[in-house]
Each structure stands twice: as structure tokens, then as C-alpha cells.
């Protein structure tokens, strides 16, 4: 009875953490958790992204020559990713943020082993969509007639066994090395994540991994062929690992003070912030080994890829994709982890730092510079791909712009990661969240960053670079503003533009998530309907959010401006017509939505002409532009707001329609600036979209 009561208390705690620990998109002056839906939405978004990762891998696996081999490797990859969470949480890292569920409060409570197991599994809950997506996608692609229950059960036991394996590994490390020495190795926790993601990517892309040593029964079970024996084996493994965890836990110390290192004064190495930052970073857990280790790791992988292409015809695109995936994962993981740690360190040392004469700018820039150096080192092996030009000299041109853009993006990303970590985890956060992974803010940065690596052409790469630079610039402004907020809580936390961007990140994430969920109904509804429904749901979410944000200063509704809107729309459509005639053939990757049947055509028209103009204008002209105007008003450059909003508006659309959308965005921006009303903007948008539909008919 008591055990049940305790388990229920722990379950309620987990649910409350999922509901309450999250971003505070608007306001954010009080250091209080949210009681709203933003935390749940953020978690849904994160779960959606994770699901998407498993889904895309699962879609490609059946295309491989030996799907069951690939599926086995992919399952192992997913398992490695799952091990990361308990590893990073179990290894005591006093200087690294911990999970919302980890608290010293538990140390003094008579928590049963079952409750501890529940907490360990709950901490990894947000990664459950990964094995679930893999199992469900493989099931629907390979054995759609088999019962779904097997796939779900397999995903659950895969999740629990690997999470517990990670927890046991961490406990064993602590037992063998002592809690303090184990904390020095906490950086090891990022390795299973990197290795897991690589395994998943490579398993779904090429056959280079061959037959798994352990056989392919796991892969066959994932593909829906006799899953129950594998479920039984993994279930037994889960029970065994649970027992091992309980046994290891029994001999563990719950807390151990960390004795200080015999450190020399950081100031002795030069009294500037960069030198201090360098010394501190070196002395953190894994500070000296992490970058060389990660560099060696990616060198080995990229080198192997380049070597493989000498004998097999991978092709420039496939070779670059694989090298980019490895580099991107190393840089993104290491960057976010280090940035988070640096931000947390400042948060813990606030009483000391607050009293020192250090300019906020220096605090941030020294961290960004340090991270930039580390990330350049880690991404340097990317240059190994030039080795492939020995066999294929014609690849040189294609590789040069890709590598150049990628390295430039790494430099910008280092700064962005620092600012985002500061805003989500560190001093600048109104509700510290214990990590930046999975936050809407990190999503905003990672999407254009990845966009640079996988751009189909130089134009798209430039567009993604520009977006990344713009987001980074605003993140920096928001981070600096937050420092002022720390000293004076009456001042505004973050910036309005940054808040608007975060909301937009949520919109795009919601769209992605809904699209993936809609794809589960493949065969029932067409891809076009899936895409349009996703837009409708995300659009509704954006509309509600912007509606809430505009209670006090909502733009006026002025029907008299409709003719002006028609004229503006005609002007913009005229430009689009000229563009399509002259420049569209030059555009990269121009896509076209396939519409079949009257129903789909009506839905497309409804979304393009009815919903999109209202939702997008409300956000871009109704919210983002006023935010930009207030920022630019200090410098008397309000006139730049329509241009910047137009750029953001165009960047949010596919690359091939960048120019016409930019023109519409600028025209509408000036209409908003002049008349303070969305009416003309919405009408112009309707006209433009109607014309685009006419062109694409």
C-alpha cells in the first residue's frame, strides 16, 4: 500500500514537471514556473522532433539492400541515444545542469527502489518517441497487416532496456571509480548520443555497416516478423537490468562533496575574460579531453567515408551528406553541451560575478570565442572530404562552397549556442530549464545551421547562413538585455523580437510535428492533405498565440483599405509573374504540390487564400514588425522594420519563392508602417497567393 502511494507520488511529480517546467514565451519577469500550456507544447514539439528523426530513418531502411541488417543497426543506434539520458543524469556533475526531476530533496527521503526505477525511466521519457517511431514506421512500411501491438511492445522494451542499461553503466562507473571521479567523466555521456545518431543515419543511408555481429533478429522483429520472442528477451533483459540497478544502487553513496582542485589563479594567465574562460573550461569535467576525443572520432569517420568512396561510387552528394551528418552531430552536441555548461557555471557563480567589474558583453563574447575555437577544431576533419578530389577532381568546385559555408556556419553557431544557452539555462533565463536541448530557442538555431550543411545549392546555403546570422544577432541582443534584467527586474527580459522568433519556431515545429502525425494516416489521406492539415493546425496555434499577444495594441481593422491591398497585391503578383518568366528556371529545387481531385483543390485554395494570409500577416506584420519598430526606434530607423520583416517572411518560405515573397513582404511592411492596419496586408497577400495558385494550376 505504501509502495503504491509512493509510486503515485512520484508519478504525479513527473507529470507536474512535464506540465510546469518549460519556456515562458511572454512576460518572464518572475522566476516562477509556468502553469500554462507552453511547457506541454514545448515537450510535444521536442517529442515530435525526436519522432521525426526515427520516422525519417524508418522510411529509408526498407529501401536498403538488407533491411533487417539496417533495422538492427538502427535499433542499436536508437538504444545508444536512449542510454545518454540516464548516463548524463546519473553521473553526478555538480557543474552541469541536471534534470528537473533530480533534487537533493530525494536523498533524505525513504524512496523505494521501485520509485527510483520509475524516476530513471521517467527522465528518459521524452526520447521514447525515437524507438516508437522506428518500430511504427517499419511496421507500416514492411508489414502493415501484422498487429500493431507487437511494434508498440517492442518499442517499449527497447526503451526500458536501454535506459536501464545506461543507468546501470553510470552506477557501475560510480561504484568502481567513486562518485567524484565519475563526475569528471560526465562528458562521456554525450558519446552514446553521437554514436547512436550516427548509427541511425548510416544504417538508414548505406550498407557500409554489414551484417550485425549479434544477428538480425532484432531488425526482423522491428520489421514486424515474429516480434514477440524478441519482446520476451528484451523484457527479461529489462527485468535483469532493473535488478542490477537495484543492486548497484544499494552500494551507492547519494552525495559526495567535490573537493576543489589545487588550481592556480586564472588571473595569473592574463587578466582578460578569454584567458579566464580558457582556464575554467580546461578544468571542467572532460575539459581537456573532450575536444581532442571528438575530433579524433569525427576524423576517423570522415576519413573512413573518404576512403570508401575510392572503391565504391558514393557520389559527391552522398559523400558530403555523410560527412556533414557526422560533423553536424559532433558540433551541435558538443556546442550545446559546452554552452549550457558555461551558462550554468555563470549562474552558480552569480554572487561572485555580479560584484566584479565585468562587462556583460565580455562575459558572453569570451564564452562564444572559446566555443568557436573548440567547434572549429572538431569540425576541421570536414576538410578531409577534399581528399576525395584525388579520385574525382571535378568535385572540387562542389565541395569548396559547401565546406566554406559549413565552416562559416560553425563559427556563427558557436555564438548562437552561447547566447541560447544563456537565455534558456543561464543567468538570462527567467525559468532555468536545466539544458538547452529540445528548447524552442535551440530549434530556431539548429534548423538554419543544418540548412547550411544540406543546402542543395549556394543560394540556399547563403539564405540559411543569413537566417542563422539574423537569429544569432537577435539572440545576442536578447542575452545582453537579459543581463540588464538581472540587475533591474523591472526592465524587460529578453527582446520582443526574440520572443516573436521563439513563437515562430514553435509554429514551424508544430507544423513539422502535425505533419509527421498526419503521415501515420498514409493511404487514408494524401500527402497534400497531410501537409495542408499540418499547416492549418500550426496556423491555428500561431493565430491563438499572436492573438493573446496583441490584446493591448492590436492593429486596427480598416475595410476602406481593401482597394489599396488589391493594388499592392497586383503589384506584387506582377513581379512574381516576371520572376517566374525570367528567373524561376535558375532557382534550385523548385517544387510543386501535387493536387488530385476537387476536394484537395478546394482545401489548397482555402489554406492559400483564406488561412495563410490571415495567420502569416498577423504574425509578421502584426507582431514581428511592431517589435522590430520599437527596437529600431531608438536609432530612428523605423523604416528598416518592413525590410527586415520582409526578409524574415521570405526566409520562412521555400528558397525558390524567396524573391516574390520578399517583394510582397516589403510592400505589406510599408503598408503596415503607414496605416497601422492589417486589412490592406491581408488583402494583398490573398491576391498574391491567388495569383500563385493560378500560375501553378
Amino acid at each position: 500500500m505504501h509502495t503504491w502511494q509512493q509510486l503515485r507520488a512520484v508519478a504525479v511529480l513527473v507529470l507536474r514537471s512535464l506540465h510546469r517546467v518549460g519556456p515562458r514565451v511572454r512576460g518572464g519577469r518572475k522566476a516562477e514556473p509556468t502553469r500554462g500550456v507552453s511547457a506541454v507544447l514545448m515537450r510535444l514539439l521536442f517529442a515530435g522532433l525526436i519522432y521525426n528523426f526515427g520516422f525519417t530513418s524508418g522510411m529509408r531502411i526498407p529501401l536498403q539492400a538488407e533491411p533487417s541488417w539496417s533495422a538492427t543497426w538502427a535499433a542499436l543506434g536508437a538504444g545508444c541515444c536512449l542510454m545518454t539520458v540516464p548516463l548524463s543524469l546519473e553521473l553526478p556533475s555538480p557543474r552541469v545542469p541536471t534534470s528537473a526531476l533530480k533534487s537533493h530533496l530525494l536523498e533524505a527521503l525513504p524512496l523505494s527502489q521501485l520509485s527510483k526505477l520509475l524516476l530513471v525511466l521517467a527522465q528518459g521519457l521524452l526520447l521514447l518517441p525515437l524507438p516508437l517511431a522506428l518500430a511504427l514506421t517499419l511496421h507500416s512500411k514492411m508489414t502493415p497487416t501484422a498487429p500493431l501491438l507487437g511494434a508498440v511492445a517492442l518499442a517499449l522494451v527497447l526503451f526500458s532496456s536501454f535506459v536501464l542499461a545506461g543507468a546501470c553503466l553510470a552506477k557501475a562507473l560510480k561504484l568502481v571509480l567513486s562518485a567524484y571521479r565519475a563526475s569528471r567523466l560526465s562528458w562521456l555521456a554525450s558519446l552514446p548520443m553521437i554514436a547512436g545518431m550516427l548509427l541511425l543515419q548510416v544504417a538508414a543511408s548505406t550498407q557500409v555497416l554489414g551484417r550485425p555481429v549479434m544477428g538480425d533478429s532484432l531488425g526482423r522483429a522491428l520489421a514486424g516478423q515474429q516480434p514477440w520472442p524478441v519482446v520476451a528477451v528484451l523484457g527479461a533483459l529489462t527485468l535483469g537490468l532493473g535488478a542490477a540497478f537495484v543492486w548497484l544502487e544499494r552500494g551507492q553513496e547519494l552525495s559526495e562533496p567535490v573537493p576543489p582542485d589545487p588550481t592556480a589563479s586564472a588571473l595569473g594567465e592574463g587578466a582578460d575574460m578569454r584567458a579566464i574562460e580558457r582556464v575554467i573550461t580546461r578544468r571542467e569535467p572532460g575539459g581537456s579531453f573532450q575536444v581532442p576525443f571528438a575530433t579524433l572520432f569525427s576524423t576517423a569517420f570522415v576519413g573512413a567515408m573518404v576512403w570508401t568512396q575510392r572503391t565504391s561510387e558514393l557520389g559527391l552528394s552522398a559523400l558530403w551528406s555523410l560527412a556533414a551528418v557526422i560533423t553536424l552531430q559532433m558540433v551541435a552536441t558538443l556546442g550545446m553541451q559546452r554552452a549550457t555548461r558555461a551558462a550554468t557555471r555563470d549562474m552558480l557563480a552569480r554572487p561572485l560575478l555580479g560584484a566584479l567589474p565585468i562587462a556583460p558583453r565580455d562575459t558572453l563574447e569570451s564564452k562564444a570565442a572559446m566555443l568557436r575555437r573548440s567547434l572549429f577544431t572538431v569540425s576541421a576533419p570536414l576538410c578531409l572530404v577534399f581528399g576525395a578530389t584525388v579520385a574525382h577532381p571535378s568535385w572540387l568546385g562542389g565541395l569548396a562552397w559547401r565546406a566554406g559555408a559549413a565552416l562559416l556556419a560553425v563559427g556563427i553557431y558557436a555564438s548562437a549556442a552561447t547566447y541560447v544557452a544563456f537565455l534558456t539555462t543561464g543567468l538570462g533565463s527567467s525559468t532555468p530549464r536545466g539544458g538547452v536541448f529540445g528548447s524552442l530557442e535551440s530549434f530556431l538555431v539548429v534548423v538554419p545551421f543544418a540548412g547550411v550543411f544540406f543546402a542543395p545549392g549556394p543560394g540556399s546555403a547563403l539564405l540559411s547562413l543569413g537566417t542563422l546570422a539574423a537569429v544569432t544577432y537577435e539572440a545576442r541582443r536578447a542575452a545582453l538585455r537579459s543581463i540588464d534584467w538581472l540587475d533591474d527586474p523591472e526592465r524587460e527580459h529578453s527582446t520582443e523580437v526574440w520572443k516573436a522568433l521563439v513563437v515562430f519556431g514553435g509554429f514551424q515545429g508544430a507544423q513539422l510535428l502535425t505533419q509527421q502525425l498526419a503521415s501515420l494516416f498514409r493511404g487514408v489521406v494524401s500527402p497534400t492533405v497531410q501537409m495542408l492539415s499540418a499547416y492549418l493546425v500550426a496556423g491555428l496555434a500561431l493565430w491563438i498565440t499572436t492573438q493573446r499577444g496583441q490584446e493591448s495594441s492590436a492593429p486596427r481593422h480598416r475595410a476602406a483599405l481593401a482597394p489599396l491591398g488589391i493594388a499592392a497585391g497586383a503589384l506584387s503578383a506582377g513581379f512574381a509573374w516576371v520572376y517566374v518568366r525570367l528567373a524561376a528556371p535558375l532557382a534550385e529545387g523548385a517544387g510543386r504540390m501535387e493536387v488530385s481531385g476537387t476536394g484537395e483543390a478546394v482545401l489548397l485554395a482555402l489554406v492559400a487564400v483564406g488561412v495563410a494570409p490571415i495567420v502569416e500577416e498577423r504574425f509578421f506584420r502584426g507582431w514581428l514588425q511592431p517589435a522590430l519598430e520599437s527596437s529600431l526606434a531608438e536609432h530612428r530607423r523605423t523604416y528598416l522594420a518592413p525590410l527586415l520583416t520582409g526578409l524574415a517572411f521570405a526566409a520562412a518560405h521555400p528558397a525558390y519563392s524567396f524573391a516574390p515573397v520578399l517583394v510582397l513582404g516589403i510592400i505589406n511592411g510599408f503598408l503596415m508602417l503607414r496605416f497601422r492596419s492589417l486589412s490592406a496586408c491581408v488583402v494583398a497577400h490573398v491576391v498574391q497567393n491567388a495569383f500563385a495558385l493560378y500560375l501553378a494550376r
Binding site: 502511494q5 509512493q6 514556473p33 528537473a100 533524505a108 527521503l109 525513504p110 523505494s112 573537493p259
Partner: protein, 250 residues
Amino acid sequence: MVALMADGWVLEAEGLAKQFGTKLAVDGLSLRFGRGEIVGLLGPNGAGKTTTLKLLLGMLRPTRGSASVLGLDCTSEATAIKTRVGYSPDEPSFYDFLTGRETLEFVTNVRGGKPAQVLAALAPVIEALDLAPDLDRFVAGYSLGMKKKLALLVAMAHTPDLLLLDEPTNGLDPPSAVKIRRRLQELAAAGATIVLSTHLLDMADKLCTRVVLMDHGRLVFDGAPGAARQAAELGPEATLEDAFLKLVAA
């Protein structure tokens, strides 16, 4: 209320030692505390007071020696000990996303108690500590003093047989500190044993029936506050602080 052992000791430690790397934090500590005692654990910074409290609660494993609380071994029966011992750390840590009331409910549920009853029983203490208006606010917004008060409530919620308090009045305003002192005296009168580590020697002098002085992990003195003056060869007019300084210097 208190489950007395056959030999009458609530807490017993024999040759207790804890080593961190090369540093010996606690060095051969032997203690015996009886029912209803209020013991002040005194000593300079780094003397091993917090480590001793954590060893007694089973949060750390001793390098050498053994300790038992209420007849239960501190290492192998730590979970059972925690159901009957209350602990308030020096730096309390809570879930920021829970309110004060939810924290008390969670703690009570984990201990197997009835939250409504516990909260009703704690109501006078909550009122006395002036925490009632903030009990439904998130802990994230609490000041250090409020967190200390909540930590004390968490420690006392299940009317434990033994209270281990690390700097209980640190960060509290003087009126609250006085109320806490009175509450501790009431609990001791009801039979609970209280071990508190503190730097406030004046408070220890007024509150404690016994003081244990530690330095560099070793026991320097164990006895009544008055006996500490005698051990330091000081007169009755000398303060506990004078005795403390002399004994530690020796």
C-alpha cells in the same frame, strides 16, 4: 513515540571515519546520544560536521567504523532510517515547480503518511513561521530564509524520533529563529533527539543540553556546555565561544 534500544541509545557511532581522496573528513568518531537530548555539533569550517550528519543518515558510506540510528544500521538500512529521521540540509534543495504545500504533500506521500493530517498538524508551526501566505506559491520564488523554513517543516512533518539539522537557523530572521528554537525544545521535551550543527555558539549555549566539538574530523570535546568551560579551564563567566576557541586552538 521513540523506539528506545535495549541499551537506551537513539544514536550510536563507533570509530566512524570518512575519507575523500587524501582528505580525512571524519576521523574515528565515537558518539552515543540518548532520548530527548539536544546535541549541538560544533566546529570550525571543514571540521566534518555536515559529513557526520550525512553519514548518520546513510547518505554517505563510512570508510571505517559503524553507526546505527534507532537500532538500524546506517549503511545497510538507510531507507528504513529515513522513515524515522528528519533531515534539514544546510543548503535546502527543492523542486522549483512545486509549491510549498505540494512539496509537503509529496514528502508525506513518499513517507507513507496522510498529507491532510500532516498539514493539519503542521498548521501551528507554519503559522508561527509566517509561511502560511506563501505556502501556495512555487518554491522557485522562495527566499533562502523561506526555503530554510520549508526544509525544517519537511524534516519535522512525520514527527521523527531523531532530527538531524544542518545550520537550522542560518538565513532565518531573528523572530523565526526564536520560534524554531522553541519548537525544537518542545520536540525534545516530547522525547525526540535533536542533533544540530551550528556556528551560532550563543544559540548552542542556550538550546543544547550537550555539545560535541569537532576539529579536523576528530572529536575534541563531548559534554554539557558548562563542562566545555571546565575542559577549557575557564571560569563560569566565560562564554561557550571562549571555550570553543581555546579547545580548538589546543
